[in-house]
Amino acid sequence: MWSQGGVTDEDRLSRAQARTVIGRVFKMAAPFRKTMYLAFACVCVTTLCALAGPLLVRRGIDLGIREKDPTSLNISVGIYLLVALIAYVFGRAQFLFLNRTGESFLRVLRLAVFRQMQRQSMAFYDRNKAGVLVARMTADIESMAELVQWGLLQFLAAGMLIVFALVLLTTLSWQLTIVALLVMPILIAASVKFQRDSNKAYLTVRDRVGANLSALQEGITTVRVIQAYAQEEETIRKFTKSNRELFKSHEHSVRVSTWYFALIEFGGVFASALIIGIGGWLVHRGDVTLGTVVAFTLLLSSLFDPVQQLSQLYNTVQSAGAALNKLFQILDAKPEVDEHPGAVALPTSGELIVDGIDFTYSGAENRALQNVSISVGVGEKLALVGPTGAGKSTLAKLMARLYDPQVGSVSYGGIDLKMATMSSLRERIVVVPQEGFLFNGTIRDNLRIARSTATDEEIDAAIAAIGATDHFATLPDGLDTEVRERGSRLSAGERQLVALARAALVDPAVLVLDEATSNLDPGTEAEVEHALERLMAGRTVIVVAHRLSTVQRADHIAVIADAQVAEYGTHAELIAKGGRYSALATAWQKSQISR
């Protein structure tokens, strides 16, 4: 009925881990504990009702039919009818309560994990691949939805059914219970083996499905190259190979389960044969009644079915446990850059001072910055230049407190950024990344990312401030144009304009820019340049520069090389000095002339 869960050996939880996971789940489920208990109570009632049926048949046969007492028979029938109705009512309730509990839990889990991810600093996002984080929030949580919708109910009901059925059968006839239990060890052993084998087979299937889908996707996305080189046959041959591998793994997984289901089918009938044979003998001896034998044959399935269900659920539950464990690890991760207790607001204006900082990316061996000091006055423009990987982008990020230095400090207006409130920090210092990143929604929504409370007028004003009013007016729905996936409807230049307008909306005192390395189409390029010009006017600017023209416009230039400030001064000063910068500038010019 459901897709099978699978769990790799590394993911399997230890007993202690499992206990912690269960404990935390219960803690998170606290707000809807009442619903949970109600669900549990309902499952109890329906389980008891399921067992009551065969008992009432027994009562009807033994007291009514065999004793030739029609009234007693009618009473049995009446109670049976009542039990059926109760089962129905509580059956509905158990679904609702259980689903409400489970889905509410998943909702709380989603919110908690997401909030925690958002609190993390950039270092966390450097460490964890985006794809993995997205999978945690989606596939991992969704994999539990099935468990919540069906699994939990079945798990509870199956467990309870085994316990109740055993108690009941023993009170009916301990002799027949022993007979029924004779089959149980075989059944349990078979179930355990089956669950192991099928888990292994499932993991193989999962890998092959993944490989097959990749081959498929690659074939479709690269079809032009394949056709251009006339390699259709070869590509199809390779795909067929991967496809047949997948088929083989499917076939193996069926073979693994075939004998098990055959055995289960046989076991059920064989147990009835035992009950009839031995039960009949006991009836002849007068140890049990015929009704008991009949009830036993009817109740046998209550004992066998749950074992089977539990074994099928086992892997699903285990993989859910593994997923929860990973999610809790995220919840436990401490953000490195966080607001200090007793943080104060930054002043509206001031000098940005970097004082003797050392910085190493977590997990990296070498320092990205070493004993760097630099200061930027109010309204000053500083250009950071240097070879790739020398640390200029890192320095820019530290100046906006996307990371904290390990040694030294970055301060603004005399206040250490570490001691500033996050909200004032983001109002004073704004980072404009290389490429304009857009979110789903309209252009207006995308501006509001910068300030969610901004009015339409303020947004218009921000667009006007960078001189892009006319440009956006030409779009079909103006600022209400849906940008579609990742802003695919807008050009790269337009996306950049949105990014600049965001910064204008915040109206910060300090701008940190990472200049784009790639070129835009000439028309928009000029527009973006113009917008940038207007945005920079009157603000303190730190720019990671890749173009000579940008560098020449700066008040000061810092050459970052080998994690340190190698040179500092104005363009003219540094050219005169004849050091690294002057060499760089010459190289820049040369590469242009050679064209």
Partner: protein, 601 residues
Amino acid sequence: MTSIESDTEVAARLEFEETQRSEGWRLLRAALQMQRRNLLLGALVGILWASFKVAVPQMTKYAINDGIEKNGPLLRWALIIGGLGVLTGVLSGMRRYIAFRESRWAETLFRERLFSHVLNLHVGYHDKAQTGQLMSRASSDLMQIQSFIVMIPITLSNVIQIFAVTAILFITDPILAIVALIPLPFVNLSARRFSHRIHPASIAVQAEQAQLANVVEESISGVRVVKGFGAEQVQFEKLEKEADDILRESMKAARIRSSFMPAIDVLPALGLVAVLGVGGHRVLNGDLTIGDLVAFNVYLTLLIWPLRNIGMIVALGQRAAAALVRINEVMSTPSEIIDPVQPKTLPLQTAGPVGDVKFDKVVFGYNPEFPVLRNFSMEIRGGESIAIVGATGSGKSTVTRLLLRFYDTQSGHVFLDGIDVRKLKLSDLRKHIGVVFEDTVLFNDSVRNNIAFAKPDAGEEEIERAAKLSGAHDFVLQLPNGYKTVIGERGFSLSGGQRQRIAIARAIVANPRVLVLDDATSAVDPSKEGEIRDAMKTVMSGRTTIVIAHRPGTIALADRVILLDEGKVAAIGTHDELVGSNARYREVLASMSAPEDEKVN
């Protein structure tokens, strides 16, 4: 769960679905024809299984009546029942194996047919088709079909089981049979309605999950923006809304489940109540034996699963039919670019210089109403190199695509070595044209296999020679496993310039008559570009080469330059001639290098 469609909308939708469905059923029947024999075997096993399964309660009845009540040969009955257990066990295993194997086999074959069809479809089709759509045809749609086929043997045995059980019940006691069976058709009905209603509900849940995934994805990819502006709360509120939506839709689905599942459980119980009540009194009156009564009970429970399954398979079948209709949309699309019936062959290389390319009054537009090339004519002699220069959107890359016959012209002709490209076998034509595309596509495979793509059996020396010429050899040796390093999306990631150099090596190995470099060195570091240019001269010598480039240095590689403007050849000449004589050429060059000049100022 009331729908909000109007009556006419519902009618139109139903009618549309009906025509699609009948088409889908036809396709499914055709597909299953191929596996007729094994499916029949599965059905036979299923029928045998059903008959033995039905015999079990019958034997139980005899055992109780004869063995227990009348002190008959108890052991014999127990052994018979046990023997039936062995038979049903073996048969149910077989049935399961056949059902799954055949359904997976059908899925496997379908996927291969689909893949090879898609791979051979003309490029114009792929321009419009979305990868995601094609992917779901080959994955989730095929899964729908598989989960339907797997049910076929089980369903057949279920049908037999239902008939057999009903017959036995009527033979034993017609009146009791009627009473007991009354609630059971409702099980089937409920199961059917349940499947119908739960499907759209789970689709709705999936849709909400996808929306949540979007928010998560953009928040993580755009984390710099989120952090930079302190927009965590904004994104959190978006996520909270999506999480609430999921909860709401999930609870809708839960309500559907809660209104059907317990009913499906309780209806058979009502049958059992009826058997005990009516049947009990009939035993008391002497119309029925206790054994019969017990057998009735067991038979009723035997009916529950088959009835549920049949209810579900109708819905499964409809979904499978819909999936087949979607698959058929792809499969029935013919490729518009195919081999000619009587293909001509290209003249042999020994007969003289090869690689003559000629465009004769070509008119072409991706949308015929907006032609990109209008009356475009050009001639390139074998061994000559030519640069095509033009503003963005002037149709430079289109020339390449027409030469490869990715598209056919609307009028006019394209010739390779004097033969109309439409008269050549596609593989013949394309093997002789090596293109390095603007957006470099590499495969998830080793560097070696990527370079040897056009010639899988190429020797190591040949591959290394190509890599050296394209300037890839040095960095390839520095990769963790050298030429065996797996690159591409899931492998080792290379820089844009490195990718382009691998793509150039790939074209070199193909040893084509015509080499096309479509902005092939745009991402290569300028200092390296000079090196590659030198190497390219070796590759280009004696080989027809078409260069589409923006950098003046690359344009200078060519013997002649063609200026493409508004879909026509505006001027032809050497670079220096055109710079001297053509104002439009200067303009186009300036616009292409404007941002670069800006850097120098």
